[in-house]
Structures are given as C-alpha cells and as structure tokens.
Amino acid sequence: MKDLLKHALDVAQVNGATYADIRIVDHEIQTINVKNGAVGALRHRTDYGFGVRVIANGAWGFASSDEMTKAEIERVAALAVKIAKASALAGGRNVVLSPLDPVEDVWANPYDIDPFSVSLEDKIELMLKADAEMRTVKGVTITESSMVCRRYHQFFASTEGSLIEQTITITGAGIICTAIQDGTVQVRSFPSSFRGQYQTRGYELVHELDLVGRAGKCAEEAVALLSAKPCPEGVMDIVLEGSQLALQIHESCGHAIELDRVLGYEANFAGTSFLTPDKQGRLKYGSDIVNLVADATAPNGLGTFGYDDEGVPAQNIPVVKDGLFVDYMTSRETAPLIGQRSNGTMRANGWNNIPLIRMTNVSLLPGDSNLEEMIAGIDHGVYFSTNRSWSIDDKRWDFQFGTEIGWEIKNGKLGDMVKNPVYADNTVHFWNSCDAIGNASEWTLWGTPNCGKGEPSQVINTGHGAAPARFRNINVRRGA
C-alpha cells in the first residue's frame, strides 16, 4: 500500500505538482429496511478506489478512479496535475496552504460490539420485532424500522510526509410509524427523524436505543396526532426537544460558520453566510448562556474522526463563546485568509470526491436548567419535538422548522398534544432569545447522516450535541 501511495505522489510531482495528497478508501455499508412486517430492502454495498488532489501552478486539480492498478494510478495522478494547470489558466489568487506538521499515525474510533460481527438473523429479528410492536397499535397505517452498519477505511498520504490510516465504524437505527386518515398523514419517529440515531459506535448503540420497547409509544403518538388539536399561533415562548435543536444548530450555526461558504465557494449551490469576517469576535450571535463548539474529538459523535482529509488532527473549536461569535470551521486553504491555521474540518464523501469544509460535531454545550424547569417558566407556549420539515435561506438567516409533534404549554405545565407545529425566526434573534438550556443529564450527541453540500453533491455525516432549550417570543404557527 505504501508503495502505491508514494508512487502516486511521485508521479504528481514529476508532472509538476507542488503539493499532492492521495486517499485510498475501502467502504462497506449494510442497510436493513423493514416495512409493514417484512424485510423491504436488505442491501450490502462496497466500493473501493482512490483520489489524487494536487496543487500545480497555484491551483487545485483532482482526479479519481476505482481501478487500483499502477498504470491507472499513474494516469489519474497525471490527470490531476493536468486539471490543476487548466484551473490556473483562469488566474486569480494562488492557493497557499496553512502550515502542517507531517504525521504518521493509525486511528480508529472505539466500539464495544463490531456491528458487522452481529448476525443478519439477529438484526432482522430485532427490526421485525420493533415493527410488529408498532403494528399492535390500532390505527397505524405504515410501519418502518431501519438499521445501518458502516465502515470507512482510509489511507491518506501527502507530499509533506504524512501517512495516516484511519478506520471509522458507524452504527445507526430507528423506527418510523405513519398513521393516515381522511386525507391526513401523521408521522412519528424514534429516536429521531432521518431514520433514527447514528453514532461512531458499534452495535451497543442499537441495544441502548431499545427500539422494541419504544415502538408502542411511537405508534400511539402517530395515531393520536390524527385527532390532535391544531397548533396555537402567535408570538410565544417555546421549548425545543434535543433532536430538533440539533437540526436547528446544524442549519443556523453549523453551515453559517463554514468559511468556504463565507468566502463564496458555495454561492452557486448551497449558498453563502451572513457571518462575514467583520463579525468574527464582534457579533452577539446568541444570549450569554449560548456556547457552541465544533468538536471533532467528541466520543461517539457522527462527526468524530482522528484526522481530517487534509491530515489535520481533529480539534475542539469554540464557535460561539458566551453568546459571542468567535470562530469558523476552516481548511488549510481558507484559514490563512483570516490569519489562522486550519482547524481541521475538511472531509470528503468517499474516494471519488474532494474534501470540503464540513461540520464535525457542532454542539450546544449543556446549561444548568432542565426540561421540567423550562416548561414551568412558560405561561403559554409550545414544546416542539422531532423534525419534520426544515428550510433556511441561502445566507442561513431566515428559517422555518416544522416538527412531527408538539404539546401546548399552559401555566407552566405540558398540556394538549398539537399537530403540524411550525416555528420561524431569524438566526440572531432566535439564539439571543435563548434563556435556558438543559443540563448535561439531558444532553445527547445526535447524528445527522444526510448533510448535503458541494458540486458534485456530497452527503456527509455530522454530529450535534444538544439538550432541550427554551426560547422566548418566537413566531409559532400551524403548518396546515
């Protein structure tokens, strides 16, 4: 393997690269989807290939292939340089990388039970049991349970002397129950939407989720939502459950602090950011109790790794400190543009894509409150749980979220279930309205496995830690 890696880098340099790196990735994923009492889709997928990224004449080039032969590696390395030289024809700023000490290391995330060591029979049996449990509830129309086991094994080498072998093992599972009646569709998911909870862990996560034990309640809530009262409307106080707050963080903070977006790299697709560099260290992003970090070192996080795909060690970066916006997620190319070194957030989806700045585990640190106390402090409001729809503008400012379920809060107590709840606001007003955050015992590191960015589009895993939190004077309405 070392010889292949070195050969690719040599070929790139001989062809004129001033910098080159190569990633060889072997990826395996097993997916089980049970629907309405039967295995609807059982899939096993592997892919294997390599990508060579170079700088030549001050510009980037990248080429990749799934043919692991010496001749193909030579073709691809030379093509990457040819592409870089074509990039340079357009002129503009030369790429300058922030300094990085070369490293040789082997890294893997820990787990208790290798998810690929558990038999298919056991996995299917568990999914079918959870599915059957949901179907015991009268009024249920569609039941789904799913599980994903994934292993990502990568070699990274660069012309600066780094050689890193990294293995990331991921497990995820969840259940979804749908109730349909008279033109109304209501959905409940557990433990979160987007097919459940995902972490860099082993099969122990599936055991902890207790999908079978939670299936009945999930189904009952889906059916109850059919006849639930409409969500109240108006400006009121709200509490967000942790998994909904996780997506709120993802959309309104995580994407906004990607420095490539800020610089306009995503202007044609994902968008830009309202967090322009003049706001760094100056903008009161949130209230004094709001502390957000981008922590690639967090144990079990779906955005956890040892090294990013430029070979930069994983880091824990304060992003918002006591409400003040203090830092971005950066790369080796973008960090020098704001006078910094890379804080290690570049990741690629597979061997056939270039790394981009991607969220690691962008999390809201725990506060000192708790759910009961937060609800007790509201005269009239809504408790929102489990994301159903999400939309935010191209600068990450104006947003609207809908959740699967809500409960009216009246006189400090949780009241009636409400259906189709929606809230909308702008990012800075919203985070400055936060006056209570749940404590560490209510904090969960949620996994979001479907973050999209880039052209060609790349989907990547991100993590978001959150406890429930309270926000004052938010615009609440019904989605239908």
Binding site: D47, G51, F62, S64, I83, A86, T178, S389, D394, P456
Partner: protein, 443 residues
Amino acid sequence: MYNPDQILETLERILRLSSADETEILYHEGEGALTRFAENRIHQNVSNRAKQVTIRVYRGKRVGAVTTGKLDESSIQKALQQALAQTTVQQDDPDYVPLPAAQTYAPKPPQFDDHTAVCEPEERAQVVIQALERAKAENVVASGIFSTQWGVTALVNSKGVRAFHSRTDAEFATTMTSVQDTTGWARDHNSYLAHLDPVTVTERAIQKAKDGMNGTVLEPGTYTVILEPEAVANLGSFLSWLGLGAQAFLEGRSFMSGNLGQPVMGENITIEDNVFHDAFASPPFDYEGMPKKQVTLIENGVAKGVVYDLITAKRARTQSTGHAMPKPNTFGPFPSNIVIHGGEQTLDEMIASTERGILVTHFHYNRVVHPMKVILTGLTRDGAFLIENGKVTCGIKNMRYNQSVLEAFRNVEMMSASVPCGTSIICPAMKIHNFNFSAVAGS
C-alpha cells in the same frame, strides 16, 4: 471509454457464475468532470471514473442484493456468495414477482456525444474564463459550474432481459453577485456540448444580478407571481415523489389516492411522464428491465394515473409502466421524466398582463410542510422582481413562501412553452394568482 459488447459479456459471465434461481445484474459505469468557479477564479476542478454492479438474486421467493465497485473475479464471487447468503436469512418476499423475461424497448435517438464525453479540462477552463471576464467587465463576482460526463446503464437477468443505454450530459450554471450583494442565476443543460450556450447563461445571470440592485422590500402576503420555468420545476418535482408513484398512491398518502377521475388541479394543467421526449437522455427501460411507457398523470386538471413497477402493479392488479427504481427499496416507483405541458404565451406577455406581481427566477431550500396537500415552504433566490403596471420595476428582497402546489396549479392564468429544467423535468413559465408569501428573508 466503454465497450458495450465487453460490458454485456462481463454481465453474462456473472450470470453464469450465479447458482441462484433467478439473477439480475444492474451495471453503471461513467466518467465525469466538473470545473467549479467562485471569487472570479476556478477554485475546484475534479474528475472521476467509476463503475459498479448490483447483483440481485432469488432463491425461491427469498431475495438477496449486493452492490460492489470491485469487479475482479474473486470480488464478484464474494458478492454473489453474500447475496445468496442473504436469501438464507430472509423470509419469503410477500411481494415476490418473478424477474421479467426478455423485453423489447422502443428506440430512442442516440444521446451520446463523443466530444462531450472526452471534453478536456483546458476546454472547460476556456469556457469558464469567458464567463469570468464578462463578470469582471460588469463588476460582478462569478461563481458556478461547468460539467461534462458520460454514463452507461446496463441491466441483464437470467430470464433473458438485455438492456443497455449510454448518454452524455453537459451543464453550465452560474450565479453572479453584484456589489450590492444581489444575485442572478441561470443554467443550461444538454446531451451535446456543442448545443450548450454558456454565453447566454452568463449574460442572463449578470443582467438579473444588476437588475436586482437598488431594490425594495415587499410585505408578506398573497401576490400574483410569474414563475420562470426553473421555479415551476422546483415545485413540480415534488409532485413526483409525494404523489405520482404507485406506492404512495396505494398506501393512501398521495394527493392522487382516492381521486382518480377527479379534478385535483386547474383545467389547463396536463402532466405526463415521457422518457421519449427529445430533451430526456434517460434509458427507455427501468431498474427491473421493463420498458418505460408514456403515462398521463394529470389531464386537464383531472387525476388520471400513477406509475408502477412490477411489485406495485401486482398489488394493484395492473401492468408495470416501467418506472421501477433501483431494487431492493421500500419507496416504490417514481416518474422521473416529468413533462408539464405549457401554453402559448411568452414571459414578456405574462409580465405585460400583470398589474402588480412578483417575478421569480427559482426557489431555494424547498421542503414539505404537508404531504397530502403538497404544501411546501422555501424561498425565492437569485432574482425576485416587482412587477408594476405590466413592467418589471425593481428587485425585491427574497421572500419565504408557504404554498400548496395543488392550489397553485389551480390558479394558473397563463403559461409559456415548456423547456427542460435539468435532466428530469420539462416545465413552462406560469402566471399564478394568490401565491402566499409568509415572510421576508435576509439579514
């Protein structure tokens, strides 16, 4: 590039290796390149070559499926063994349908262009440089993409299906940003690079960015809108997966459920799925090897039908329309070559007929709020303009909409001819009254 005979020979070899009762092999191969620009320079520039097979086997009514990008002999043997092993832990598939026998596919004109397939990075760079130079001359900042690619899809099975399709695709899209941070966007798409028109795309995006300067802010509320085709495509594409596939229809979660023969949109709306439209480069077969049929989905506003694969057709006691998605899946068939029939008016005529309204280039971050009513939310992006007394008078700040697509398609007053918007939908521009905007966006 690729050799069809060699590919089919490889797939035949895999079929011969299989000891399953029934075996299906789906093959994809392709090579693509994408030059991406921002800050008036090329900042990303990539190329990729890849292939993969999905082997689906049946032992009795028990199914197994493995996808791999490793096509050497031992990896294929391993994949086959894994697929067969899956059948031993499965129960009988309650939806089992035998794999189809050999099919005949209606011919399509070739949509493979050698020039597009082998476009060199220097050629892409020169096209981008022209756009960058125009941007600099107009004092706007350019970002966007120029991509070229070729792809092959082949599907064979042990019952005799032999299907093969190749295509090329080129796209140029750009967003121009003015000194006032207003943006304009446009794109073009074609199977043939020579037919792509990046110059016009560039000029349209520049003009929109500049026209949006010194704009105004409108109050949220209900407006007459003129949606350019890309904006209609943003809304119309949701109809496909929310309601025009048989699975959603049969499960009762589609706006079509229980409504066949009933009006669900305005009388001027006709929607079909038609892979044989000249603008589509998709294969004339689906992921079960069945021939794709032209299907009328909505006719003069009336719900006429949905698309089927073999499984949903069996459940509904009808025939497959050839719209299976890659198997196995739990979401069923979708129409993927949507044609929304247009009208005879031009965009200029729509604007001239409007006393007060909003012209929308396209929408951003569209999401489902209510699936049965097809209520979506999202925001205008890259060019929203106020129309007063039949003329575009100024740009407006982007606005968030919350709108049922079904209702919107009941309120269509005028339509242009339909044009391709990307690779899977063909749409007209539409003038629509009572379109609901709930908020103004922007910091």
